[in-house]
Assembly symmetry: C2
Homo-oligomer: 389 residues x 2
C-alpha cells in the first residue's frame, strides 16, 4: 500500500477567528448564546475532539464580547481538553466538573450570565443532555445552532479544502486497489473489510462506511455489505468513505467484474443506463459555479435521467455537503434554493436502480470554485469493467 | 491471532417480547408513545442497526395495544430495514418517506394517533430531530424514554450475558497479546493501532477505544494514545474495548515493562499503591449481589483507597453499566441508591492517579448473579511486570 499523505493542520489562530465569527453570528441571529456539545461544531470552534460518551462536555459561546467563552469538561478529561488548540491559544476558559456534580446546572448558570432567552444547541447534541438543559433553563427557547454555525461551516477555507482533497485522493487509491484486485467469489463483506483496512492504511482515522452492493444488492442504495458472493457478469456499487484529518471522504464507482469472459460483459440495457448516468453526473458537476441554486445541480442530473426514461429509478437527492460531517449542508435536493458559494464542498452522486436486478451510482466530491467546479476525486468515472478473478 | 468466537444471536421472537414489554412499560409510565430514533434503543426493540446519518429513521411505539408499532425509514434504506428481525417477524409495520417528504410530520401524525400528550424519546436522539419533533408536537411534553426502556435494558437476559462474555474474552486475549509483545520504544498510538486491529481480528465489529497511557500519561484517565514513546520502568494503563455482536467489551489492566532490567522495576510507592488498588477492585467486585445499592460498590472501593490515603487520587466513579452501549445504567457512583438486580452488567474500575507522574486502573466487567458476582473477564489482574523489549 502507498504511503500516508499528510493533510494540512488547521492553524491555531484559525480557531480564534472562528470563535469571533461565531459570536458575531450569534448576536446577529438574535441568540444570547450557543451551547455546543461533543461533535463537529465543537471541533470546528475549538479543535477539541472529545470522547462521545455520556458525561457532558459543553462549550458555552455568549453573543456578548465581554462574557468569556467557556468549555466545561468532566475532570477526568481535563488533560485532553487542555491540549485543544482553542484552549492552548487562550481563546476559551476551561472549567471542570466532578463525578457527583451537576454539569447541566453549571451550563445553565453560564447561559443565564449570557442573557439566556433564545439559545442555540448543536444539531448532534443528544436528547439526554438537551432535555436536561431545557428543564434547567425553563424560560429559554432552544433552537438549532446550525442557523448560526451553518453559515460559517458551509464555506470551507483553503486548509479545509486541501484536507478534503487529501481524503478524496486517499479514497481514490482505495477504489483503484479494489478494482484491480480479486472480486469474483469473495463475499461483499470481505471486500468491505479490505476497503476499511485500506482506508486506514491510507491515513484515514476512521473508515465509516463501505457499501459493497453486488448484483441485485446494487439496487439498494444504502445496502450493507453482506455474505453474498460476488459473481462474474454483474455490477458492484462501491461507495466508501471515512475521515482523514477530521474531514470526510466519500466516493462511489460502479464496477463490473467479467472474469475475462466475453459472455460476462454488461448487456445493452445496463450499458445504455450507465451512459445516461455518466452524462448526468458529468453535467451536474459541470453546472457547479457560484450563484447557481443547489437544487439546480439536482435538477440538471435528474433531467437527463428523466429524459432517458429512468426517472422513477433515481429516487434519492443528487448530493450532500461534506466537511467535518459525512453529510452536512448544502444538500443538493429539490426545494433547496440556496445559491452555491465559492468554498462549498458537496457530493454529486446520481444513481439508477432497477429493483431486485441491478444498480449503479457515480459519486465525486466537488468544491465550488470561483468560476466552476473543483473536482477532488480523480479516479476514472467510466464503468470499470475489470477481470476480478 | 486466534479464531473468532461467535456470539449467540438474539432470537427473533425476543423482539416481540421486548416490544410487548415496552408497550406495557410505556402505559405504566404515563406516556402515550415512545419515539425511538437510530441507536441502541432501536436495536434493542427491533434488531435494526440503521446508519447514523441525518435522514430520520424512527420507531413509534404506542402505549395502546390496538395501535400498531411503526418504523419509518428513508426509502433508500428500506431494504436493510426489511431484514430487521422485528420487521421479518411481523411485529412492526414499515413505512417509508421520500427525499422531499417531511418525516417529522409523519412521526407527529403517528404520535397524535397514539394520543400525543407525554411522549418519550431515546436518549441518543440528536437535537436536529428532537427540536423538529418538539415543533411539530407543540402540545406534547417530551421526556427521556430511558424512564421506560431503562428498566428493561438494565437487566440482561442469558443471550445478552453470553454475548457480553464473548466480547470480554475477546478483549482479554487482546490484553494478553499486547502484554506479551514489544512495548518499549513504541509510540502509544502504535500500540493503540495494534489493539484496534486485534479487537477486530477477535471478532469485534468496532474497536471503539484504545487508551494507552504511559508514564505520566497514565495519570490522565481518558488519555488519548499519543506519539509518546513508551520507556522501560514506567506504567502503562491499557483500557480497551469495542462491540462484538453489538455488545460492549471494556477492560483495563496496568502494565509495567522493565526490559529485563532490575533497576527498571516499580518502586515502593507504586507497588504500595497498586496493592491498595488491587484490594479495592477485588472487594468492590466481591460486594456485588442482588439488593446491594449501586453506590455501595463504589463506596466499597473508595473506602479502601481512602483509608490508604489515596482518596484525592481516585476522582472518578467506580463503574458504569454496559450492554448495547459502552456506558449505560447502572452507574456505580455516590448517590445512586438503585439496588442491583440479577442480570445487571457493569464495570468495576477503580483507579489511582498521581498527576503528571503515574497512574493505574483495573477494570473488569461483572454481571450480578443470583448469589454474587459473575466475572466476565478472566485475564490476570495483578500488575503485569513484563519484559516488553
Amino acid at each position: 500500500m502507498t504511503a500516508i499523505r499528510a493533510a494540512p493542520d488547521i492553524p491555531q489562530a484559525r480557531f480564534r477567528d472562528r470563535l469571533a465569527a461565531a459570536r458575531d453570528a450569534t448576536a446577529d441571529g438574535g441568540l444570547s448564546a450557543l451551547l455546543i456539545g461533543v461533535g463537529p461544531d465543537l471541533r470546528y470552534l475549538t479543535g477539541y475532539v472529545a470522547m462521545p460518551l455520556e458525561r457532558l462536555t459543553m462549550l458555552v459561546v455568549p453573543a456578548a464580547d465581554n462574557v468569556p467563552v467557556t468549555l466545561i469538561v468532566p475532570r477526568l478529561e481535563v488533560d485532553p481538553a487542555r491540549r485543544a488548540p482553542a484552549i492552548r491559544g487562550g481563546y476559551v476558559d476551561l472549567a471542570t466538573w466532578e463525578e457527583t456534580g451537576d454539569p447541566h446546572a453549571d451550563v445553565a448558570a453560564l447561559a443565564r450570565a449570557a442573557g439566556a432567552g433564545r439559545v442555540g444547541v448543536n444539531d448532534t447534541l443528544v436528547a439526554s443532555h438537551l432535555l436536561r438543559l431545557q428543564a434547567s433553563l425553563g424560560d429559554s427557547e432552544f433552537v438549532s445552532a446550525a442557523t448560526v454555525l451553518g453559515r460559517l461551516r458551509i464555506v470551507k477555507d483553503r486548509d479545509e479544502v486541501e484536507t478534503l482533497r487529501a481524503a478524496a485522493h486517499a479514497a481514490d487509491r482505495v477504489v483503484d486497489a479494489i478494482a484491480s484486485g480479486r472480486l469474483i467469489g469473495r463475499a461483499e463483506a470481505d471486500v468491505a473489510r479490505e476497503v476499511r483496512d485500506r482506508l486506514v492504511a491510507e491515513g484515514h482515522e476512521t473508515a465509516a462506511f463501505a457499501i459493497v452492493g453486488s448484483g441485485p444488492n446494487a439496487s439498494s442504495p444504502h445496502h450493507e455489505a453482506s455474505e453474498r458472493e460476488i459473481r462474474a457478469g454483474e455490477p458492484i456499487v462501491l461507495d466508501i468513505g471515512g475521515t482523514l484529518g477530521g474531514y470526510g471522504s466519500d466516493t462511489t464507482r460502479t464496477l463490473w467484474p467479467n472474469g475475462g469472459a466475453a459472455d460476462a460483459e454488461p448487456g445493452d440495457e445496463f450499458r445504455g443506463a450507465f451512459d445516461v448516468l455518466r452524462r448526468a453526473q458529468a453535467a451536474a458537476t459541470a453546472a457547479v459555479r457560484p450563484g447557481v441554486p443547489a437544487e439546480e445541480i439536482d435538477a440538471t442530473a435528474r433531467q437527463i435521467i428523466d429524459a432517458a426514461g429512468f426517472g422513477p429509478n433515481f429516487f434519492h437527492r443528487t448530493g450532500h455537503g461534506i466537511g467535518l460531517e459525512e453529510h452536512e449542508d448544502p444538500y443538493l435536493v429539490a426545494g433547496n434554493r440556496e445559491p452555491l458559494r465559492e468554498g462549498m464542498a458537496f457530493s454529486v452522486e446520481p444513481g439508477i436502480y432497477a429493483e431486485g436486478r441491478w444498480g449503479m451510482r457515480l459519486e465525486d466530491i466537488v468544491v465550488c470554485g470561483p468560476d466552476g467546479p473543483d473536482l477532488l476525486n480523480r479516479s476514472d468515472l467510466d464503468l470499470r469493467e475489470v477481470d476480478g478473478s
